[in-house]
Amino acid sequence: MSWTAAQQRPGGAATAPPILEMRGIAKRFGATQALDDVSLTLRAGEIHALLGENGAGKSTLIKIMTGVYQPDRGEILLSGQPIAIGSAAEAQRHGIAAIYQEPLLFPDLNVAENIFVSHQNRGVVTNWRKMFREAEAILATLGVTLDVRSPARGLTLAAQQSVEIAKAISLNVRVLIMDEPTASLSAHEVGQLFRLVRDLRDQGVAILFVSHRMEEVFQIADSVTVFRDGRLISTRPAAEVSPQSAIADMVGREMGLFQRRAPAPKGEKLLSVQGLGRTGVFSDVSFDLHRGEVLGFAGLIGAGRTDIGLALFGIEPATAGQIVLNGKTETIRSPRQAMSLGVAYVSEDRRQLGLSLPMSISANISLPVLSRYLTRLGLIRTSQERDTAEGFRKRLSIRTPNVELPVAKLSGGNQQKVMLSKWLNTHPALLILDEPTRGIDVGAKAEVHAMIGELAAEGIGIILISSDLPEVLAMSDRVLVMREGRQMAILDGGAATSQTVMTAAMGQEFAA
Amino acid sequence: KAQSAVTGGKAVDMVLLPKFLGILPFDQAHQGAEEAAKELANSKKLQYLGPTPENSVAGQIEIVTNAATQGVGAIMISNNSGDQIVPSAKAAKAKGIKVVTWDSPIPSAEGEDVFVAQVDFSETGKIMADMALSILGKDGGKFAILSASPDAANQNAWIDAMKNALKDPKYSKLELQGIVYGNDQSETSYNQALAMVDKFPGMKLIMAPTSVGIVSAAKAMQDEKLCDKIKISGLGVPSEMLAYTKNGCAPQFALWSFVDLGYLSYYTAYALATGAIKAEAGASFKAGRMGNYAITKDPTRKAGLRILMGPFSLYDINNVEAAAK
């Protein structure tokens, strides 16, 4: 790979002229001081990584750069000139574009329209043919094949993210901000994206890159800035930072990268799936899962891992094959039924499918098992709800002043924790985790991993769907690899390495 | 019997309540009532209150109820609510308020003191039959009715009266094909009139006893160049009908004076409220410029009293222009 080339680039980024400078920025939301006197300089031809725990203020800073929020204090300089960024449109005129943490697509517009939606200079008349062609070309440079004519509604999160990226690089930007662009990409797509980011850097674009995946950060960044609690802790060239020291800066103490989970003793057989399929989506999937076992699902975007989860949870029931749960053959037709059988599914898309954002943390956590919180008259015992939520707040260290806060007010990672709490609260026997650490910081990730270990030790069977390959490898007893809706392999703990998994996931292509 | 004298100069709060606001005939009635108010030197201002058309029933009930709360002296209602107005009218009457209906009565007559009838309702049926016969000629022919809404009490009464009149052998050549409703909206009436042409084959006349319906039907036939095959008649306002009478689409139609109706209603209500007359059959009084009127039993309803204004004015090519002025 070309990451050594990045290290050896002549000149060094620190000498390049600054394009965008943020000085002494502060921003307050009610009681939360989201940003406190932070400064950051983005230079042409430099990839600048921004690290910090969930809620450290990364997204807030980005939204200030793109004119979504106005800072309470501080100034912004573009090429040395102070500017005010009053709106997203203004930011765009200044050549600042962002890929937000949560994809912001237009579900009714087709993929090509989505990519070109913020282009102001494409003339009066839409040249559909040209637009489709260019969209396809841009996606091809990303290594993604999508039907550019189909509406964005119903795209998987990863596909949505690809469109977001295509949208940003289609603009001729001077500053490109990427807020966790890789959160739902698998290793293959990440590689493709990085090639592209480096190309852009070499063309003199300043890039701000936010990610919770340490190994990625050190693969691509030229310099690294760390935030903690809304304050700037350090800005250093990447060469001078080690993952350990960066994590120490982030959390304020020493902490290791995640370790391989110690294999636990297997319990009795919990789930047996034979020839499962859904017409046109996936087919012929067979596996067993024991109590206390973690079965990882690996594969590229759109490989069909999520669809298996949805079938087991009854959202999109399977049309072929059989499911044996606890020794009984079951046909799962609805989520309700799945829940009564002890199945829980933590969705990959927390905004659209996972959470009711305007509602409180406690209301979200109690939702699937609301009946547990009812008096005999069917009224809700809110104090009991609160107690449960408080319990999870402590257990998963959710950063929030209180559990009555609407979930929308939390940072992305903390929202993810609320969603996990919600499903843990159902006391499942079979827990399907779809991208459970998407967008959460190293500290929290470690906590989630520890929790997965604990839950498995308690005898819960866990299906772990994740695009974070190291995570899958570290956590799983066995790994099931999917490709284009078909099951390619089930690799035992020892046999599963990134090499073997990727080979299975990509067919001959990877080997070539 | 002796005429009771209606002496002016007393202060009586009076409310004139049309079916709804915004339609010419009711405004004319309002003019007539104002004229009477001036003549009678009533120091209290006449309140002309009405609901919106889509809220007519609930609105009329609300206005009557509020009038009762305020304790006005008399209320004059052109009832659009059928018997649904009865509870509120009764409540008003129980508070000593005189309830006079005009243009359209309360069908059961409950809660009503007296109805000022523009014309005799059975007479209306006969007039419509006569106009049909005179337009279609001795040989008669098929015709259909374009009414306002199925809920309009006076329309229904007139149509019933016409059906009754048609039993007379004199009209044996006239054949009623059906009734259609245009809801007193020009666009609905227009579309209904057009549709009638297809629905009723051989139809030679549309009888529209509604001032909105008749104009719309005439315009529809004119637009479709059907005026020589299908004629229009019914009840209409001369100024609105002028063009169609002149071009032969609507050779003959009828109406009464709404100004006079408002004038007479005011006199009646005022006479009742000041105690000049009692609401009982046989009472009579002099209504200013219109002369003497008497209260009689209403022969067209099972119960109730009425004062009959009359007569109809028939309009055709000879007099329509003068009346339209």
Binding site: A91, D108, E113 | P150, D198, V215, Q222, D223, A243
Partner: protein, 349 residues
């Protein structure tokens, strides 16, 4: 078939399905009613649909941006009355000026609504529920309960509804209908080929995102209401020409007819999808049902019940057809994607 599926989306095929439903309705009614297949039937339906269609075009634009304009009935009524009053007072007024007056008045009223929604940030349903009443109230005060009568209007205006655009064999295409179709074509082409039109769809599809990426969100919403108002003004002029005598009650309740046409025509009431052409088909569908039901020899009192049922069935069968189409499309999509991704080199070419 593959080519078809790549170039036509299910949403476009839905319009075809609506068209098929209309044809089916016509065939069914034709077998039930003697002398149904005449130029007169055609004329009745087209004339009755023309005005609704023009208003529905504007409504579609508003609904696309995730708003609704319930004031259209009042705008049509006001412009019809006001233009009529002006024409009655100035007989010599050239036709073009009359049309412009109507459109300008509608434009102003639409701008008021649009400003309140876009810049005042008041939800459109609240604004237009309010202005529906206020515009009508102003009209009633202005008119003093008088009616614009047919014979006070200039002759050219009254001839207008009878004017033929073209005559094809037996069929007369009236100028008013041709005008409506022309407007539909204009806006259909506009909404599919103008870049600004993308913004209308984007706004309705995801208003938050639209704002976040810096679209002129307010201007888009504002212009949708202005266009809706202007088209309603034009419809007001057509209304005046067609019905001649205009009371203050003119076009009351038209908003519901228009919304029905738009909904039946497949425009998503929550914005983002649907076409002007679909709205026209919706209007034609309802117009056909209404006019044809009248011709059936059934009691007047049965009509609404049957009409309600038929509208429900039209919407339902349309949805079912659309869902089936989507399923077919989705299945082939996956295959296409699968085939492409199997040979990335080919895709890159």
């Amino acid at each position: 078939m593959k080519w078809l599926q790549r170039h036509i989306r299910p949403e476009q095929v839905r319009e075809l399905s609506l068209l098929l439903l209309i044809v089916a309705a016509v065939l069914i009614f034709g077998s039930m009613i003697d002398g149904y297949y005449t130029s007169r039937t055609f004329n009745r339906i087209t004339s009755s649909v023309a005005i609704i269609t023009v208003v529905a075009v504007g409504q579609t634009l508003v609904v696309l941006t995730r708003n609704i304009d319930l004031a259209v009935g009042s705008i049509v009524g006001c412009t019809a009355y006001f233009t009529g009053a002006q024409l009655a007072a100035h007989h010599g007024m050239p036709p073009v000026v009359a049309v412009l007056i109507a459109m300008a008045l509608g434009c102003v009223m639409g701008a008021i609504n649009g400003a309140l929604v876009a810049y005042g940030r008041v939800p459109s349903i609240i604004v237009t529920l309010g202005s529906l009443a206020i515009f009508r109230g102003i009209l009633i005060d202005y008119s003093g309960a008088r009616t614009v009568t047919t014979d006070s209007l200039p002759k050219w205006l009254l001839e207008l509804p009878r004017l033929n655009f073209v005559t094809i064999g037996d069929l007369d295409i009236r100028a008013m209908f041709a005008l409506a179709v022309g407007i539909v074509l204009l806006f259909q082409i506009g909404t599919s080929f103008l870049n600004v039109a993308r913004q209308f769809y984007a706004m309705g599809s995801n208003p938050d995102a639209a704002e976040l990426i810096g679209m002129p969100a307010r201007r888009i919403v504002f212009s949708a209401f202005v266009l809706s108002g202007t088209l309603s003004g034009l419809a007001g002029f057509m209304f005046l020409a067609r019905f001649g005598s205009i009371t203050v009650e003119a076009a009351r309740g038209m908003e519901l007819q228009v919304v029905a046409a738009v909904v039946v025509g497949g425009v998503n009431i929550f914005g983002g999808s649907g076409t002007v052409f679909g709205a026209m088909l919706g209007a034609i569908m309802i117009g056909t049902l209404e006019q044809s039901l009248f011709r059936l020899q059934i009691s007047e009192f049965w009509r609404d019940a049957i009409l309600g049922l038929l509208i429900l069935l039209a919407v339902a069968s349309d949805a079912v057809i659309l869902n089936r189409l989507r399923a077919i499309w989705a299945r082939t999509d996956l295959k296409l994607v699968a085939r492409d991704s199997a040979s990335p080199a080919e895709a890159k070419r």
